[in-house]
Every structure is written in structure tokens, then in C-alpha cells.
Symmetry: C2
Amino acid sequence: MKLSDGVEWALHCATVLAAVPPDRGLTAAKLAEFHDVPSAYLAKHLQALTRAGIFEAVPGRRGGYRLARPASEISVLDVVDAVEGRLRPFLCSEIRQRGPVAGPKSDYRKACGISRVMYDAENAYRDVLKHTSLTDLITGLMADAPHAAVRGATWLQKELSS
Amino acid sequence: MKLSDGVEWALHCATVLAAVPPDRGLTAAKLAEFHDVPSAYLAKHLQALTRAGIFEAVPGRRGGYRLARPASEISVLDVVDAVEGRLRPFLCSEIRQRGPVAGPKSDYRKACGISRVMYDAENAYRDVLKHTSLTDLITGLMADAPHAAVRGATWLQKELSS
DNA sequence: GTCCCTATACTCGGATAGCAAGTGTCCGAGTATAGGCGG
DNA sequence: CCGCCTATACTCGGACACTTGCTATCCGAGTATAGGGAC
């Protein structure tokens, strides 16, 4: 069980975009430069986020990406699902209905207890991410590393003005 | 994020082994036959479970696998970690300390807030699995599909007597 | 001076290679058993 | 008849190919801009 690196990048990009005025945008190249990650690969994930309706892409010159809705209405889960593709980590293949002791289908009306536990765990995981919004993330970032936040804001202002 | 198929197999095997008397064992081939899965590949996971101290392997003729401790003292998390290798789904690469706005390390004393949320979610996931034991699983299986449980017990008795 | 048209530069978007990890399989090392032999 | 020894058959264990999906990259389609020309 491993998450794509893109999840971390996407979350950081989202916090940066939250600081961009709604009528402006930031290009994939700038976002990649800010985090020092391969821009071509980052672009791939930004596209996925756009398809999911979390980011908005502005084409053409002076284009770029921006949040599709207020940061308070974007959860961490939204971002993770968009990048990872919303596939369940555990998939029950009903092996209890296979082998020499398999019986009629009517014997297995209730879902397999093992899958139930795995799904419960998955839901607990998702709940935590669901109840954390981008604003929560930003509040935390500013409290944890205020100096870095100020430097980031300064850099952003410089990029937007040019 | 995807879990290995072996997780499901391992959990089902564990519930079967829980029904085997402590002084007996069940071979990898028999476990594979019971679930109709490739025995060679299942053996690989059984070895991992043995290394993790959850199963015990009895070598030689009339050997096989059995639980290393009572079913009530084995959690689902133990099995999942043994098969999956206990690697964290999310790994913070501290990209906030990279790029043009990177600052002195003293600015980043506290852990990245993004990683904190991801780890909280992971812990919620693990907690659910941790608080479910093999006995809980078996109780559920027998309640959900009693006929199948009886057939399984009969098959097992036949195999053990021969 | 104002409007329109055209060429341009820059953006996103999807299609294309490379690589690592999971998936699946095999054969060799080790051990309890079963049978035969000797006492 | 009893004990011991040897050969055997069966088990687990680790080493070896293959496939899927993530990682990384590129070039083409589309658009707002900027400049020049006509009115």
C-alpha cells in the first residue's frame, strides 16, 4: 500500500493556489519551480485535479491554474481521490465462495466479514481526510513555520506582479 | 493505493488455521486448495507471516502451518502488516524545504502539517484493524454464513484425519 | 486617433517511453516418517 | 520380539522470470496578447 508522490505535491500546490487571487492563476511551471519538482510530471497531476473539478485551468497566454471553489470547501480527501483515482485499497474477491467447500449463493447473502472490517478501516481513514479542509491545512502551515509562510507569500506576490 | 491480494488470502487462511488443533498443522497446499488460489504464491505470503511471528511453520513430513499464538491475541493489523511489509502509505519528502523560498532548517522545527493529517488518517485506519482480532473475524464469519462454516469444519476434519 | 486584423508567444492537454514493485513460479535444503535389518 | 539404521517422501525456504501500474517526458491544439496597418 503506497500513495503516489503526486498526492503530496498536489496538496502543497493547493495551499499555494489558495493564496492566489481568484481572478489570477499560476502556471504549472511556476508551481513546479516553487516546490522544485519535475514540471512535466506535476502537470499530469494538475490535469487530474482539473478533471475532478478541484482546480480550474485557464488556457492561453497569462493562463494557469486556480482553485475551482473556496479553500474552505475543498477537503484533503477531494485532492487525494483526484490524484489517486478513487480505487479501493482492499477489494474482496469473495474467495470464500471458491474451492471445494463452496456452496449455493444463498449461503452468502451477507457481505464477507473480512471485507467489512477492511472497509470500516478505509472509511475511518477517509473520514479524517474528509473533515480536514484546505483552510485547516493553511492555518497549520502558518502556525508551524511562519517565517517560511512569509517568504512564500513574498515570492508569490513577486510572481503575480511580473 | 492498493493492497496486495495476499492480504485477503492471509486473513482467510488465518481464520482456517484458528480451527486447527494446536498440535496439528495444515500445509500450504491444503490452504491453497481450500481457497482455490495458486499455492506457490500463497506460500510466499505464508512465509512472510511466519517471519513476522504470526504463523509457525513445522518442517518435514506431516508438517505445515499453524497459529503461533491464540487467535484472540492476533489482530487483523498484525496480518496486514506482515503481508504488506509495514511501509507507510504516505511519506513526507519535506518539499516545503526545497525550491526558491527554502529557509534555514530552524524554520521547520515542527512537522509538516500536511504529513500530520495524512498520518492521523493512517493511524485511524490502523486503529480499526488493531482492535479487531481473529476471534472477532471468526465470530462474524459464522454468524454471516453458518452453512458455509459447517462445510468448512467438515472438510477440515476430513483433512486432519487422513 | 481608433478600430480591426494578423502573427506570435505562451498556456494546457493527451499520447508516448522507462522503470520499479508486485505477481507468479520453480527447484533445492531440511526433517519426521516408514520400512527393513540385525540382535 | 525389540531396537536401530537407512532410504524415502514430503514439507518449508529462498532464488528466479514476468506483468502491471507508477514515474517521467515530450510534442501538438488552443487562446489571450501585442503590434502593425487601414480607415
